[in-house]
Amino acid sequence: MTSLSAKDKEVVKAFWAKISSKATDIGADALGRMLVVYPQTKTYFAHWKDLSPGSAPVKKHGQTVMGGVAEAVGKIDNLTAGLLNLSELHAFTLRVDPANFKILSHNILVVLAIMFPNDFTPEVHVAMDKFLAALALALAEKYR
């Protein structure tokens, strides 16, 4: 799709600055929610004891995922190069079908709407949606 404009990057960075202290909560809620609303995603976590929202594995992994998002914000000017290692991880080791990146992105946006209803304006929404889509694309880079 489209690449991020200077304005998009500005909006993403400004919004991230506001929300980054809550990154762990956002990640945990988004991941837990995804496993409930899109149960097919549970197939990737069959090795966890507890897949329910708020459980320890979900919280921990939500934090890991948001760590990746934070890294991406820092490397927003060249996501493909910046996320090469993460792309290799997802392509060769985890082998997550990239369609699922969209699903998780949607759940992150829902959580942002819940936690930051006044800040998550349509302008922020479009910039974040574009950013997460660009992130997903960079993650899929090494797949084939």
Binding site: R33, V110, P122
Partner: protein, 147 residues
């Protein structure tokens, strides 16, 4: 045939009783036009859609957002046969309005986000799942008469 659990039925009714129609309808449609600007192609007669501020304050967008939400009420009242209830609406969208049905999902996503921001913590994963299922059934019904 779609089967609804008691929880799902109750939850869907509850969501619609809690949301402010005047905020959710216009909010979802304007968000769709802002976040997915290609959807503006269907609204050439709506006047100024040049930027987010214009879209958000456009009275035709607001009015049409309410029409869309009214359409969802129809599904709410006919949950056991949404496909049948939506047959005419599906023909309308396919033959008259000629809307690419992939757009229905985009609007559904925006609706989910606006309802989530309205309900806050009450929009739990389970409530979210019920709403997502409801919207998926609505979208499938709207797609049904496309040939």
């Amino acid at each position: 045939m779609v089967t609804w659990t008691d929880f799902e039925r109750a939850t869907i009714q509850d969501i619609f009783s809690k949301i402010d129609y005047d905020i959710v309808g216009p909010g979802a449609l304007s968000r769709c036009l802002i976040v997915y600007p290609w959807t503006q192609r269907y609204f050439g007669s709506f006047g100024n859609l040049y930027n987010a501020a214009a879209i958000a304050s456009n009275p035709k967008v607001a009015a049409h957002g309410k029409v869309v939400l009214g359409g969802l009420e129809k599904a709410l009242k006919n949950m056991d046969d949404i496909k049948q209830a939506y047959a005419d609406l599906s023909v309308l969208h396919s033959e008259t309005l000629q809307v690419d049905p992939d757009n229905f999902k985009l609007l559904a996503d925006c609706l989910t986000i606006v309802v989530a921001s309205q309900l806050g913590k009450d929009f739990t994963p389970e409530v979210h799942a019920a709403f997502a299922k409801f919207l998926a059934v609505v979208v499938a019904a709207l797609r049904k008469q496309y040939h």
